[in-house]
């Protein structure tokens, strides 16, 4: 019983660390090092730097930066109330309302004191309508005249009754203010206008949120991104389906397809500049030549505010749809022939095969491509900068170009940084939803 079980000598030896050269991990780290350095220097540092900068008053030529909190993002300096439609009278029948409206030309606006303030009163068709009550007589008189005499009056049916409305155009409202703080704004807003009116509050200030151009840039960025993506898909899916068929010259065509994608945008954009030139555009030349346009009516692709956005979208689509096509093509090639054959045996025609078999199977890879493509378009700077520089009148200004213009060209480094950082949360949300979708699919 007491016999000892011999233990193999190797089983008792403590595990020694292998020599440095024998181990794989250090070599792996060494290989990764350049990439890590690159990410740190060219991605992480600028990103952190711009976050820091966006909280300072950094300006080009100003060596001292001071911390100013979130003022670059949002800093309200004053408020204004914009009013559009003033309801002067509400009458039960249409004829009376029309009679009232017709009295506009003979109407009078008078100003009278009301306590410490001044009240503008409209007299028309034998009725006195108190319009406004303001702190100074001049303001009351001026704004009263504006509402009573300069706006056009019209009759609108409102809830069974007829209202006579003094109407101001959307882009030319009657402005009250400015007021320096929110409390004043709220008080004045309630007491200034004595008739029902459609009012909005406009904030003014140096923060990016108060900048109307910034809002335009956000709108344009979305227009540009989703316009581009929609067209890319509409072009990419049919192209991929065609290239997935077997025909002579397919390989050549696949090769040609990627050309727009591999040519540097700085070079291809030069060609587009000529194509979209205001005088020598080849598109205009063709249209005139075919008799579709008269020579006096040629399209100014880059200068016309209706065409500029379309032009930059067209250039981005031209550049980006090969990528979409190739990704979809990869998805199509990954579908086994047997599945498509089975679909044929199951009785699916071409359209049904596409709808029930091909597109659900391509969808996950399509989402990945869309994800890349959306990020690419959302942050695209080159295309717009080369073609329109954000113009005309900021109609093609997107976040990236606006950040550049404000931050680099105009020297407001901090505000430029703030604008570019706005892209981050928007994209994070989009990426989150797309990844969520992908995970559900898988």
């Amino acid at each position: 019983m007491g016999a000892k079980v011999p233990i193999l000598p190797s089983a008792r030896e403590p595990e020694r660390r292998p020599k440095l050269l024998e181990r794989e991990a250090p070599f792996g780290y060494l290989l990764v090092l350049p990439a890590v350095l690159y990410l740190a220097v060219f991605i992480a540092y600028p990103f952190l730097m711009s976050i820091y900068m966006s909280f300072t008053d950094a300006q080009a030529g100003n060596p001292k930066w001071e911390f100013i909190g979130t003022q670059n993002y949002s800093k309200v300096e004053s408020y204004q109330v914009l009013a559009n439609d003033f309801v002067l009278a509400t009458l039960p029948d249409e004829a009376a309302a029309k009679r009232f409206a017709a009295a506009r030309d003979s109407a009078k606006v008078t100003t009278e004191p009301a306590g410490s303030r001044f009240r503008a009163v409209l007299e028309a068709a034998g009725t006195r309508v108190p319009l406004l009550e303001l702190g100074s007589e001049g303001d009351a008189s001026y704004l009263g005249e504006t509402v009573g005499k300069e706006l056009s009056w019209k009759v609108e049916k409102r809830g069974g009754q007829y209202a006579v409305v003094a109407h101001a155009a959307e882009d030319a409202p009657v402005t009250f203010g400015p007021y320096n703080d929110k409390a004043t704004l709220n008080r004045e807003r309630r007491s200034d206008i004595l008739v029902p009116a459609k009012t909005t509050v406009k904030t003014q200030g140096k923060g990016v949120m108060q900048d109307p151009n910034f809002r335009l840039a956000v709108k344009n960025t979305f227009k540009y991104t989703f316009g581009t993506e929609a067209i890319k898909l509409c072009l990419g899916i049919p192209c991929a389906l065609i290239l997935n068929r077997k025909f002579g010259g397919r390989r050549l065509l696949r090769g040609l397809l990627v050309i727009p994608w591999v040519i540097p945008i700085a070079i291809s954009a030069q060609a587009w500049l000529w194509i979209l030139d205001s005088t020598y555009s080849v598109i205009n030349w063709c249209l005139v030549h075919w008799g579709i346009l008269s020579p006096g009516n040629i399209i100014n692709f880059r200068g016309d505010k209706n065409w500029a956005m379309l032009s930059v979208i067209a250039v981005n689509v031209w550049r980006g749809f090969p990528f979409t096509t190739i990704v979809i093509l990869a998805g199509l090639t990954a579908i086994p022939d047997e599945i498509l054959e089975r679909a044929r045996l199951d009785g699916a025609n071409g359209l049904q095969r596409f709808a029930y078999v091909i597109s659900p199977m391509v969808r996950p890879i399509l989402m990945v491509s869309l994800l890349f493509s959306v990020i690419f378009s959302f942050t695209d700077f080159n295309t717009i900068w080369i073609i329109t520089k954000g113009g005309p009148y900021d109609q093609t200004q997107v976040l990236s170009t606006y950040a550049y213009q404000l931050g680099v060209n105009a020297g407001y480094l901090a505000r430029g940084a703030a604008i570019s950082l706005f892209m981050f949360p928007i994209m994070a949300v989009m990426v989150f939803f797309m990844l969520q979708f992908l995970r559900r699919e898988a």
């Binding site: 054959e341 044929r344 045996l345 699916a348 029930y356």
Partner: protein
Amino acid sequence: MADVVLDRVEKRFGDVLAVAGIDLTIRDQEFLVLVGPSGCGKTTTLRMIAGLEEVTNGDIRIGGRSVTHLPPRGRDIAMVFQSYALYPHMTVARNMSFSLKLRRTPRAEIDRRVKEVAGILGLTEQLNRKPRQLSGGQRQRVAVGAALCRQAGVLLFDEPLSNLDAKLRVHMRTELKRLHLAIRSTMVYVTHDQVEAMTMGDRIVIMNGGVICQVGTPLEIYDKPASRFVAGFIGSPPMNFFEGEIAADEAGAAVLLGGGLQLPLPRPDLAERAGRKVWLGIRPEHISLTQAGRMTSEVSLHRVFRTAKVPSVIEVVEPLGHRVILTARSAAGPFQMETEIHAGVHGGERVELWFDMNRAYLFDRDTEAAI
């Protein structure tokens, strides 16, 4: 009636003749197996029946109706693919009902059929799973189920078991056979595995190089192979072949093999063809260690007389379990034989082996046809 008739059907891929004008009648409710080595044209033939390949020449009729130029969906067929071809984004139930949905079958009827087929195949629990959540065998059954739901007249199988592991394959073989007995539709089954062909087929079609070598029941094919190719293809281990020449001897006919080995033939009529160059074929199971062999009880005196003694050396012994395969060498060349595991033979041993000449085959050395 869902009989399938192939009338001089030919298929060319460019210059390559894949199927060289075959005639074949597949009877209604028959389980027919197309078997042959890869590239023999069996799959192409099946795909032509399915309508997945255009027919270059000839005519295909299903149930008396020519379908040669009909698209697959107009042919009253369903097919099970080698890779199962399940739609990965659909549940098992939707995979099975897809073809019915496309045909606008009423919902209640679809549900009824899916339930019924799932019941037959034991898939009721899996109906709401996606294919990737299933095992190989279950996927296989879903593929079969999808074909069954169609209730097509003809079911086509393209090597459906080749992606399964050996054990499951044996099991599914039996299952498919049972299924055929239960639903009785015409089934055409392509395989390269001769065991599958022998075990499953009512009839077997052996193809090679785009032509049909032989059509027959498993027993016919085994007992009366029409050519050296068929003889060598069916049977495991395969039949042994020796080069030889027909000779006449005092008892009638004999075959003269290499090394001066002369074996008597039980067919005296062959004496007239003396000098003819032939292949002598004999199956491993028809060679024994004793003169009477293992067939003592059933052989007649005549047959015992027609065994032939072949002195040999045992080279390799491969026990399989109940049987053992011996690789031996005689003066005429190497060969394999099969015997009982307890035979007690060892490698290197010199033995006298007995060839059952009643079960030996002769094939012409030029035409390879059976004599």
